[in-house]
């Protein structure tokens, strides 16, 4: 029996508002514990939460960017459970009436684009942070994160492989970052993912028993956890053993998922509408005004890059993977209108350096205008392509401009025919054996002479001139 995985993802994205969802405390990351707290977010009796309007707008943006329907009226609900990271004894979330429903995004797969449906997007508050003491039976609670706004994005179970799940995650992260509503940092936890996964016989519709996977804090871990779970469930089914519906944690050190059974006595959240928070009613005109603020989204930009700059899909995908990178490309291309050359340089030289230093394009020491200047110097023959690469390295390390580096180091291409001829004469004199062999028919030696000429000029000789002069010299003397 051939089995296929069925995967759905729940994503929590921390919103980049300045203040918390229901109080004025700061959302800034990294403050000393409990310094961003007030009676509302630590749940002192008698306080009243008031909704941050920006949270609704940010959530709406994500809803619209993923083709959801925005609910004309939505409502907050209390999700009841006891855990010390939750001072109220309930989390304010949305349950029956979420803000956005029924959307979709297209992801790129090996077999071409695939549409993944989005079930719902709702607003909720984040919980606090617990640090467990290693030696005493005690935990330290920090409520700075309590009340930081989140949106939860729930997909339909439309993914069939761990690669598709990763592609979906990347697509959503890109959109969130384009919208500038979430920084998408998985390691720091501002972008988190839980996965539901089950297996079913190929060609059948009914879903198998699913497990829920948690604790995966990188794209790689999401993929590995899913792959492990696919293997584990397949082995159970093949042995005719039941898959138990449960939550499993990804254990990064051991590369396995482990059962949390017993630790979560049957979840019964007893949701009910939060009487402290009145309905959020969104008019058509509000939706329209938010829609107007949407930037060009990754998919549209990708298509435009292919049409306008005649770039291949791969280049367009890489260049639009972040808004800042796309801006960098377009700024450089405006100054040096040869898109493919600019794209090649960004994808090879520039990204190689950034990757090595684990830097974002925002912190790139070479501004796009400077890259354009370098490419112009190369294009007009002032410097050779080879020299351009060393100049680029210099620009990246020192932050200086191409022209200044070329002038100071005397890297201008040698295009003086007389000078090149003199050098070639010298080379031919110094290598009589090779000259004879070449003339005897060993034509492969031509590149040896070119290499010599380049070495003597430290790579500055114009390659076309070197070729021409060499060819005529080697031929001439023959007669």
């Amino acid at each position: 029996m051939e089995l296929e995985p069925v995967i759905g993802l729940e994503i929590h994205a921390q919103l980049l508002t300045k203040s918390k969802i229901f109080c004025g405390c700061s959302t800034a990351f990294g403050a000393s514990p409990n310094t961003h707290t007030c009676p509302i977010c630590v749940a002192m009796p008698g306080v009243l939460p008031v909704l941050n309007r920006e949270v609704v707008e940010f959530a709406m943006k994500m809803g619209l960017a993923t083709h959801c329907t925005i609910a004309p009226s939505s409502q907050f609900a209390r999700k009841n459970y006891f855990y010390p990271d939750l001072p109220k004894g309930y989390q304010i979330s949305q349950y029956e009436l979420p803000l956005a429903v029924n959307g979709w995004v297209d992801i790129e797969t090996e077999k071409g684009p695939k549409r993944i449906r989005i079930h719902r997007i709702h607003m909720e508050e984040d919980a606090g942070k617990l640090v467990h003491d290693e030696f005493q039976p005690m935990s330290y609670v920090d409520y700075n994160r309590t009340g930081v706004p989140l949106i939860e994005i729930v997909s339909e179970p439309d993914m069939g492989t761990s690669e598709e799940a990763a592609a979906y995650l990347r697509t959503l992260r890109e959109i969130l970052r384009y919208l500038e509503i979430c920084d998408g940092n998985m390691e720091e936890g501002s972008f988190r993912c839980d996965a539901n996964i089950s297996l079913r016989p190929v060609g059948t519709e009914a879903l198998g028993v699913k497990t829920e996977l948690k604790n995966m804090n990188s794209f790689r871990n999401v993929q590995r956890a899913l792959d492990f779970e696919i293997r584990r469930q397949r082995a159970l089914i093949e042995r005719n053993e039941p898959v138990v519906q449960e939550t499993r944690l990804w254990d990064v050190a051991r590369n396995v998922t482990i059962s949390m059974r017993g630790k979560e006595e049957a979840h019964d959240y007893r949701y009910f509408p939060d009487p402290d928070l009145v309905p959020v009613v969104v008019s058509d005109s509000w939706v329209a005004s938010v829609r107007e603020t949407l930037p060009e989204l990754p998919e549209a930009k990708r298509e435009r890059f292919m049409a306008q700059y005649n770039l291949p899909l791969y280049d367009a995908q890489v260049l639009t993977s972040s808004k800042a990178l796309a801006v960098y490309f377009e700024t450089a291309t405006a100054e040096f209108p040869q898109p493919k050359t600019v794209s090649n340089w960004i994808m090879s030289e520039l990204m190689k350096q950034l990757k090595r230093d684990e830097r974002e394009i925002e912190d790139c020491p070479v501004p796009p205008e400077n890259l354009a200047e370098l490419l112009s110097l190369m294009d007009t023959g002032v410097i050779s392509g080879k020299i351009a690469k060393t100049v680029f390295d210099d620009m990246y390390t020192t932050g200086r401009k191409a022209k200044a580096i070329v002038e100071e180091k005397g890297l201008t291409q040698v295009k003086d025919e007389g000078a090149i001829e003199a050098i070639i004469n010298e080379i031919l004199r110094e290598n009589p054996t090779e000259v004879e062999l070449y003339r005897g028919g060993k034509e492969k030696l031509f590149s040896f002479f070119v290499g010599q000429a380049m070495r003597k000029t430290k790579g500055k000789a114009n390659p076309q001139l070197v070729n021409e002069i060499l060819r005529s010299k080697l031929a001439n003397e023959e007669r």
Binding site: S26, T37, L51, H132, M138
Partner: protein, 96 residues
């Protein structure tokens, strides 16, 4: 009369609320909660089929605050009522 809530359910609710009830208390609570629920049942005699679904008794909607940071409370004050703290964090029994 049919029970509205069983002893089993009362035990479950108590567990969710982290309450430890003795046998006697369980029995008492079951009886009391049945009384309350029976009383509430009277509401079902009203025909509400034409009343729209609502979550609030008041006709308010869209109460918002702008996204502005306001000063938080002094940590000392925030921690003042904590059963246990170290001056920086709340301390609780370890639960994993």
């Amino acid at each position: 009369m049919k029970e509205k809530i069983t002893r089993q359910e009362v035990r479950h609710v108590a567990q969710l609320a982290r309450l430890e009830l003795s046998e006697e208390e369980e029995k008492q609570m079951t009886a009391k909660m049945n009384q309350v629920l029976t009383y509430m049942e009277k509401l079902n005699s009203l025909d509400t089929s034409r009343v729209p679904h609502m979550t609030h008794a008041i006709q308010l909607q869209n109460v918002f605050r702008p996204d502005e940071v306001l000063p938080s409370m002094d940590r000392e004050q925030i921690l003042a009522n904590a059963p246990e703290c170290d001056g920086v964090s709340f301390l609780v029994p370890k639960v994993i």
